[in-house]
Amino acid sequence: MTRSLASPLRALGSPTSRYIARRLVWMVFLLLVVSLVAFLIFYALPSGDPAAQRAGKGADEAQIERVRHMLYLDRPLYEQYFHYIKQVVLHFDFGFSYSNNADVADQLTSRLPATISLALGAAVIWLVVGVAIGILSALRPRSLFDRIAMGGALLGISAPVYWLALVVLALLSQSYGVIHLIPNTGSYKPLTQDPGAWFTSLLVPWIILSLSFAAIYARLMRANLLETLDQDFVRTAEAKGLSRRRVVMRHAVRAAITPIVTAFGLDLGILLGGAVLTESVFNIPGIGRLSYDAIQDSNLPVIQGTVLFAAFFIIIANILVDIVYAVIDPRVRLA
């Protein structure tokens, strides 16, 4: 596969663009594999008869058979799969939702902005907070700040999102909280419609979603930086007479931050595929909420669509991570 691809790719110019092109080809291949696995899990394994579900309650045998024929469910599996892929690739058609007959592709794209808003906002918070706390803790290990920060991080990791979210809502929500401070669930408005409401409705979900990530990142950053600070080249930098700030930022942090980049790419990719728990608790109409509802109703085309979307984001995030890697670590060559 690589060999046959190599020659047309060479025409693309710089090694970096060739690299990206090759990774994109791989992405297509991976998405095919993911779609096949998802397809097999949902259609080939006994999970209830899709045709009966689609036909609805009280449908008679003949109706179900008609639906079965309409949905290609009476064909062999490979033909069903081929049909599904053909529709996706040629027409960006993911089929129709079993529950409300809506176009799955439309549903996915219309719910994407909410998920992106939630994921990116939370990502900014946890990256800034987590990395900053990690650096400060590593610079003064065993100090009071470090102990409080790492204790807090342990709490942050241990508290599940849904529990924390429900507690916060019970205490602070506008209509049924102890103090009426934050908007109710389901108050999400798109950024383009009402930026103010968009921000206030997402603020608490951002903070709660970012908390456990910030805690993990702080611990990761602290551990890595402590290890790096003890390395010879940091001592070399210090012996050069560099300021503490320059030693830490230019030499130590730059080396210690690579695992953070890896984790960040993957975490963000996963969240873009839908922050299921946060979206469900706060009733944010994103991909996560969509997939949660779809799983509840065994809504197979929607589940398929969300799985493919999630896989797409994770793979893209991985490619981006590799490119960022090459930027922060010049030893890495993209080729």
Partner: protein, 297 residues
Amino acid sequence: MSAADEQSPARDAILEVRDLRKTFGSGGGVLGGNHEQVHAVNGVSFDVLRGETFGLVGESGCGKSTTARMICRLEEPTSGEIRFEGTDVAKMGRKQLLPFRRDVQMVFQDPYSSLNPRHTVGSIIGEPFIVHGVAKDAKERTKRVQDLMDLVGLNPEHYNRLPHEFSGGQRQRIGIARALALEPKLLIADEPVSALDVSIQAQILNLLRRLQRDLGLSLLFIAHDLSVVRYMCDRIAVMFAGEIVEMADSAQLFAAPQHEYTQRLLDAVPIPEPGARKRQREQQAEIDGVGVAAAEG
């Protein structure tokens, strides 16, 4: 033993170390009990004279490197005094520390881990220029970096390469060029060749010797290998378990080692001459007949 008393005051010391101590505490267990303390350096005193090569020798773990780091102020002494050109190093504030960093430079043991793998050779050698405000424009910096690379026998064309593209010996040359960038008065070489192949060691040692002579450096040379120290040094101090057990001129130390530990160290040096080992043992036995028997018994 007091090293200071042996120095004649007429000789000009660039570095004076007096009763230097470093204690590492284990910090105790979870409940704070069981404090075990390690005396890594336990009352070390010596002088390094201007223009000489002073050797500090001893087995690994005897406190040599900790001593070196304390002299560079990369580590804080528990007690004792370090004077560089008459000024107490421990009492230097930020203002004095910067010129001190220029004057005292260190070549580290491991040429692999002591160079930042993400920086090009040019920036590794040239970074001190930026910090110390020497050679402010980039062009002049490149020129000086290339001169330094030439000085230590590296191809100046390679200043844009990363450390992993060089061999161990070349990396140590980078480390030396880096240390020399600010024209230091005192160079501390902490086991500069122990991580290198034997075939490369001699090249680096010769380079250091040449530079020391040509640039008029004072060199504090730290090693565990006696033959290396003998080749390099004018005077030698032997360290054992955090203390200096013997200090003498190089020739004198090798001709007539006084301390039992020095004798054992010398004994351990292989001699590349058939029969020499045996002759040496016989001589040794003659010199301190009873002592050896006691040590073995």
